[in-house]
């Protein structure tokens, strides 16, 4: 159902140059987001006080292991969490708090101002409808357009994401596409209405490395062209390094560190971030005898998150019991850039610690 039928529609599929929502300030602001799930074994604290902003025309990468809360955060933004989830905080889209809005109120926003690309494109696309029909649906639920215009638009979108023979391909079913093509089709579907912010949840995880590059390339091109923002969720630091402007590192449902991509990669101020960087296998370094770095221990159960800092049991710098096991560190400024934040009691001291040092310190 079209939301406002008389809204001016940009027929040129995606205009180059500054595109949507030239509102000043941030496209998206999240404040103190908390998500919990009741389960038989206890309360799962999936997201525990997360706050961040996304500006226009920027790519924010959210990095973390499975269970760090990054996907749940993304779902919360779109209101796609199961009914059993308890969500609190604020989610401000263009200044309006969309947390807690009813399904009906969220519908006009979803797929239009804020859109999402999911991880497993084969499962995320309906097997009994053609790809073209599904992309068309994304358009027609928000705009009332004549059929052939929609068809044209679908074809241009498919073309934009690099799918050959778009008109023909539009009539095919998802299982007839290759993995990379499916993912790109999902991207096409997500950007169909020129959203202000696009959330990409592990868009490349299910793909081969070579295909990954293609898909990321498409994302990058689109971002350049439309100047929309992207929230890129991944566990792969390499992906983030190539695409993100800023990075947010999550651990056990909490933020560990936030900063520009340079700050994070070259000036990390959190033991977890350093650990992640150190455990990146690198071709250019290390003699044959050097071991790979790994962070001790396992991520904690989100039902029984450790007291104080969630990372302290595995931390090389932790001072127990006080303060690391008793006081949860706040996310505060660290380093030169005021926007570089870290949740560690010893963030300042970590200025001189590098990932290389951690690696060297591993016993051979």
């Amino acid at each position: 159902m079209p939301a406002e039928a008389d809204e001016p529609i940009d027929l040129e599929v995606l205009a180059p140059g500054p595109g949507p929502a030239a509102a000043p300030g941030f496209i998206l602001s999240v404040r103190h987001l908390r998500v919990t799930f009741p389960t038989d074994d206890g309360l799962v604290r999936a997201v525990d006080d997360v706050s961040f902003d996304v500006a226009g025309n920027e790519v924010l990468g959210i990095v973390g292991e499975s269970g760090s809360g990054k996907t749940v955060t993304a779902m919360a933004l779109l209101g796609l969490l199961p009914k059993s989830a308890e969500v609190s905080g604020e989610i401000l889209l263009g200044g309006q708090d969309i947390l807690g809005l009813s399904e009906k109120s969220l519908q006009p926003l979803r797929g239009r101002r804020i859109a999402m690309v999911f991880q497993d494109a084969l499962a995320a696309l309906n097997p009994v409808h053609t790809v073209g029909a599904q992309i068309a649906e994304a358009i027609t639920v928000h705009h009332d357009l004549p059929k052939d215009e929609v068809r044209d638009r679908v074809a241009s979108l498919l073309d934009l994401v690099g799918i050959p023979n778009p008109r023909q391909r539009a009539g095919q079913y998802p299982h007839e596409y290759s993995g990379g093509m499916r993912q790109r089709a999902m991207i096409a579907m997500a950007i169909a209405n020129d959203p202000e912010i696009l959330i990409a949840d592990e868009p490349t995880t299910a793909l081969d490395v070579t295909i990954q590059a293609q898909v990321l390339d498409v994302l990058a091109r689109i971002q350049e062209r439309t100047a929309s923002s992207i929230l890129l969720i991944t566990h792969d630091l390499g992906v983030v390094a190539g695409m993100a402007d800023r990075v947010m590192v999550m651990y056990a449902g909490r933020q560990a560190e936030v900063g520009t991509v340079d700050d994070i990669f070259y000036g990390a101020r959190h033991p977890y971030t350093l650990g992640l960087l150190a455990s990146l296998a690198r071709i250019d370094q290390g003699s044959k005898a050097e071991r790979l770095y790994r962070i001790d221990g396992q991520p904690p159960s989100l039902i029984r998150v450790p007291d104080g800092c969630a990372f302290h049991p595995r931390c090389f710098r932790a001072v127990r019991p006080d303060p690391c096991a008793t006081d949860r560190p706040d996310l505060v400024g660290a380093g030169a850039d005021p926007a570089h934040l870290s949740a560690c009691h010893f963030a300042d001291e970590l200025a001189d610690v590098t990932a290389e040092q951690l690696r060297e310190a591993m016993p051979r």
Binding site: T39, D41, G67, P82, S301, L302, I303
Partner: protein, 315 residues
């Protein structure tokens, strides 16, 4: 009912599942705090199924009442009292009496012995045979499997009631024959289920691992495949009991099952058929209720077992 998936190691089941639920399970990736035995997990899940627990008691009661009829029934079996004739429920006769003045409660208890015995026996034999043939077919594949599949295909196209009725006519209608005839058709469904289960378990990595480390076929079957297949077998066996009871009653109702003087619930209903529309209709209610309660209880237990073995199946 399709074969269920094999038992997965500990997965916590959460309520309120809707569209975005898949990731809930991802959240709980961390290991469990304390190790629990399979048995305690299983019984905990079963006990959560209230109807199943109630049904266990109910079924127990029924079994005791029927098989203990000799001592528990208020009257003797077949004890006629022609002076009373057919009356509805009274204080002296809770379920009323029939034309010959026989107390219905007593008759139902004794008839239950036959119905239950046949049901249990059929399920037992069918499960045994079906499991054996199904696992052989599933495990060894090729010729045994093809034989099984073609054979069961053949029998599944013909209406069961017809085959059963003709077979009973041919081979006789004493209880033992009836049991064998019903089991003779009943094993096929279980065999197919077991074959399917064995096939799916065979594909799993731990079987390959066992093979690679040199376990013999027999050992693989017993130690790896059977434990994962036990669940669906038990569930289907339980539901098979209910199915067998209903089939026997249906056949007896139509006149093809047990013959007098042997009586079963189905037989009692067959005799009572003519009372529809008369004031003797109570003769229909109680045997039918006995049947209904028994089948309901068995079904609930089967459902509880299914939940206990595979917590991921949706209710």
């Amino acid at each position: 009912m399709d074969g269920e998936s094999p038992v997965e190691p500990t997965v916590v089941h959460t309520r309120g599942i809707s569209a975005a639920a898949g990731m809930e399970l991802e959240l709980l990736g961390a290991p469990e705090p304390a190790a629990r035995t399979q048995w305690s997990l299983f019984s905990r899940r079963f006990l959560r199924h209230r109807m199943a627990v109630v049904s266990v008691f109910l079924l127990g009661l029924l079994l005791v009442a029927c098989f203990g009829a000799r001592w528990l029934a208020p009257y003797e079996q077949n004890q006629q009292d022609l002076l009373i004739g057919p009356v509805g429920p009274t204080a002296g006769h809770w379920f009323g009496t029939d034309e010959l003045g026989r107390d219905q409660l007593t008759e139902i208890m004794f008839a239950g012995q036959i119905s239950l015995r046949i049901g249990l026996a059929v399920a037992f034999i069918a499960t045994l045979v079906g499991t054996l043939l199904g696992s052989l077919a599933g495990f060894f594949g090729r010729l045994p499997e093809q034989l099984l599949m073609r054979l069961t295909d053949l029998f599944l196209v013909v209406p069961a009631i017809a085959i059963l009725a003709i077979a009973i006519k041919r081979f006789g209608n004493d209880s033992t024959t009836i049991v064998l005839v019903l089991a003779g058709l009943g094993w096929m469904y279980i065999a197919r289920v077991v074959r399917g289960q064995v096939l799916s378990v065979k594909e799993k990595e731990f079987v390959d691992a066992a093979r690679v480390s040199g376990d013999s076929s027999a050992r693989i079957i017993v130690r790896h495949i059977l434990p994962n297949v036990v669940g669906p077998i038990l569930v289907n066996a339980t539901l098979g009991i209910a199915a067998a009871i209903v089939t026997e009653s249906t056949l007896s109702f139509l006149g093809f099952g047990v013959q007098p003087p042997t009586t079963s619930w189905g037989r009692m209903l067959s005799d009572a058929r003519g009372t529809v529309g008369t004031d003797k209709a109570h003769l229909i209610y109680f045997p039918g209720l006995a049947l209904l309660l028994t089948v309901l209880a068995v079904n609930f237990i089967g459902d509880g077992l299914r939940d206990a073995f595979d917590p991921q199946s949706k209710r």
